[in-house]
């Protein structure tokens, strides 16, 4: 391969070179954008769960409470037995399980959404320790409560107040801004898990609908190996039945409804189409180029270039063109990704995961987690796109070069 000749050819045949490079670079840019968007939607869908340090949440559906008085479970979150929790902890790929107890407490003058949380577990709502805006977080072994800041503001609850639940008084030791931390598991009042378990176990309305012991829970947060999440979710579905709410990044992604969010298959198919179109453009331009150069190739062969010399020269030209197209395509993709990263996406949170009763003010409203779409081009994707371009160049040049090297110089050099 003669590099000097190669560069001269690409430089002086600028129109041809620009057409081939532009065609392929647009295809590569589309590949980059499609995959970056798909990845961004996936990351966005992970956000609501990541906020509470989990990859999966589990709730079991049950019967509606017979009467909305006293302490009840929402029908979307009934008892998950301690033995079942132990079994989940033993599943392959599960790195940690956080337990919680979600209660609706109906009192004559007020209804409370109460969440019992583990104080030391990094998986689950204990992440709220970072959202304390007044007072302090819960201490070990103390029957005390945290109030949600907005709720406390609305009802004039202050640190130091005492709140009575099922006849027991809980001092409010702090206020937490739950909206800043998470959209899932937002409650009015947070208690230590043990307190919430005791309240649930002692509640007759709960026991009649869903027997509960002081070791059970009704809301689980699971941290898992990323590649095992679908497998674990399937096992949980089989354990808790089809009606259970098993929230995973994929299930949240499906709620988004965007084409990019729908499936890997869509992204793959669209990427393949983009690449196929790009390859066809590159192939057609290069085929046209080579057809125009049949006399030139005839001269090369007449003056002593072997078939291999000719093929290598054409492969070199094709590879360089496609490499430039690949780099340009990646650059275009990065620019487009930067533009798209200003886009906002709202992820709907399933109603089963919203703790507010639908019959209370705001309870029927769809909750969304809104965030900036985290579009970026991963280095591996950029490198893959450039390697793919070079491979396309090599194959296109090789294929066309092989055909054209069969040209008989005597046929193309014969004067009219």
């Amino acid at each position: 391969m003669n590099f000097h000749y190669l560069i001269s050819e690409l430089y002086y045949q600028r129109r041809r070179t620009v057409t081939a490079v532009a065609g392929l670079s647009i295809g590569i840019a589309l590949l980059i954008i499609l995959n970056s968007l798909s990845l961004a939607y996936r990351q966005a869908a992970h956000a609501p769960l990541q906020e509470i340090g989990a990859d999966i949440t589990v709730q079991r559906s049950g019967d509606v409470p017979k009467e909305l008085s006293g302490i009840v479970f929402p029908c979307s979150a009934v008892t998950i037995k301690a033995a079942e929790i132990k079994k989940i902890e033993g599943l392959k790929g599960v790195r940690g399980v956080g337990r919680a107890v979600l209660l609706w407490v109906f009192q004559p003058q007020r209804a409370w959404i109460v969440l019992g949380i583990e104080r030391h577990n990094n998986v689950g709502p204990s992440i709220l320790r970072n959202a304390v805006v007044a007072g302090r977080f819960l201490k070990d072994g103390q029957p005390e409560a945290l109030a949600e800041a907005a709720y406390a503001r609305q009802f004039g609850i202050k640190v130091g107040d005492k709140i009575s639940l099922a006849g027991k008084k809980y001092p409010v030791v702090g206020l937490v801004d739950a909206s800043r931390a998470t959209k899932i598991a937002v409650a009015n009042l947070y208690l230590p898990l043990g307190e919430a378990q005791r309240l649930a176990a002692a509640s007759a309305p709960i026991q009649t609908v869903s027997p509960f012991t002081a070791e059970d829970a009704n809301l689980l947060f699971i941290k898992a190996d990323e590649e095992k999440i679908p497998e674990i979710a399937a096992t949980l579905k089989s354990m808790f039945g089809e009606k259970a709410t098993i929230a995973t990044p994929d299930s949240l992604l499906k709620l988004l409804g965007s084409l990019f969010a729908l499936s890997d298959k869509f992204t793959l198919a669209a990427s393949l189409i983009a690449i196929l179109v790009a390859v066809l453009i590159a192939f057609k331009t290069m085929a046209g180029n080579i057809a125009e150069r049949s006399q030139e190739i005839g001269v090369m062969k007449a003056v002593g270039w072997t078939n291999r010399n000719v093929v290598m020269q054409l492969v070199g030209e094709s590879v360089i063109q496609c490499f430039v197209a690949g780099v340009l395509g990646v650059a275009l993709g990065i620019i487009a990704a930067f533009g798209l990263s200003f886009m906002k996406v709202s992820i709907p949170i399933p109603w089963e995961m919203c703790p507010t009763p639908h019959f209370l003010p705001g309870g029927g409203d769809q909750i969304f987690k809104t965030l900036q779409l985290p579009v970026h081009v991963p280095l591996a994707l950029a490198v893959f796109a450039i390697i793919l371009s070079v491979v396309i160049g090599g194959l296109t040049g090789g294929l066309l070069g092989r055909n054209v090297s069969r040209i008989k110089p005597s046929e193309v050099l014969r004067h009219e």
Partner: protein
């Protein structure tokens, strides 16, 4: 007595049912200048292609220094042409994206040598062709005569034993054509390069050592 360097024995070429060259035998001696004349379509260019290994004969053999090259592969023939033959075409066939000196150096591109050496050899030949002022020009900036002189320099870059010239003055005006013929005559006389030239201009053939007339695919005299 001069030594025969190239010979074609009983050469025929058929395209389907059409026999373009019919059982022709011809030889070229070292340093000989042969003109192949005849009407258009009589098979002159095809015979030239058969003898130079650009085309394969349907029957017969081509020998170079006694070695049969008829059975050589495409790549072997390419290397044979690179080492022993030079070509000049009526339509010049210069590469449009290469400058004059790069066109001259084209046969050297596949050979491992430094770019400077290639350039030096090409410029030396361009100087002989009085084209040193044109060496960085693209073919589009050259006149017909200049293009043909670049093509002659390209044909000489590998010090060929035989030059094949197919109507080398066909696309040139008479004055430029004469100048090109002067160069070819000089090459033949001073450097002893054998030349096999196809032409249909009887006037040009007068300078040749030998004249071969073709008619309807056969040698008639």
């Amino acid at each position: 007595m001069s030594k025969t360097i190239l010979s074609g024995d009983d050469l025929s070429k058929k395209y389907g049912d059409l026999e373009v060259v019919k059982h022709v035998s011809v030889s070229v001696d070292e340093g000989e200048f042969i003109c192949l004349v005849g009407k258009s379509g009589c098979g002159k260019t095809t015979l030239l292609s058969l003898l130079s290994g650009l085309e394969r004969a349907t029957t017969g053999q081509v020998r170079y220094n006694g070695k049969n090259i008829t059975t050589s592969s495409e790549d072997e023939l390419a290397l044979f042409r690179r080492e022993n033959l030079g070509f000049i075409f009526q339509s010049f066939h210069l590469i449009p994206t290469l400058t004059a000196w790069e066109n001259v150096a084209l046969p050297l591109f596949p050979i491992k040598m430094s770019s400077d050496e290639r350039r030096e050899r090409a410029i030396e030949l361009l100087e002989k062709m009085e084209l040193e002022h044109r060496m960085e020009h693209l073919p589009s900036a050259l006149s017909g005569g200049e293009k043909q002189r670049v093509a002659i320099a390209r044909a000489l870059i590998n010090h060929p034993k035989i030059l094949f010239a197919d109507e080398p003055t066909g696309n040139l005006d008479s004055a430029t054509g004469e100048a090109i013929m002067d160069i070819l005559n000089k090459l033949h006389q001073e450097q002893g390069v054998a030349i096999l030239m196809v032409t249909h201009e009887a006037e040009l053939a007068k300078t040749a050592d030998r004249l071969i007339r073709m008619h309807d695919g056969e040698i008639v005299s």
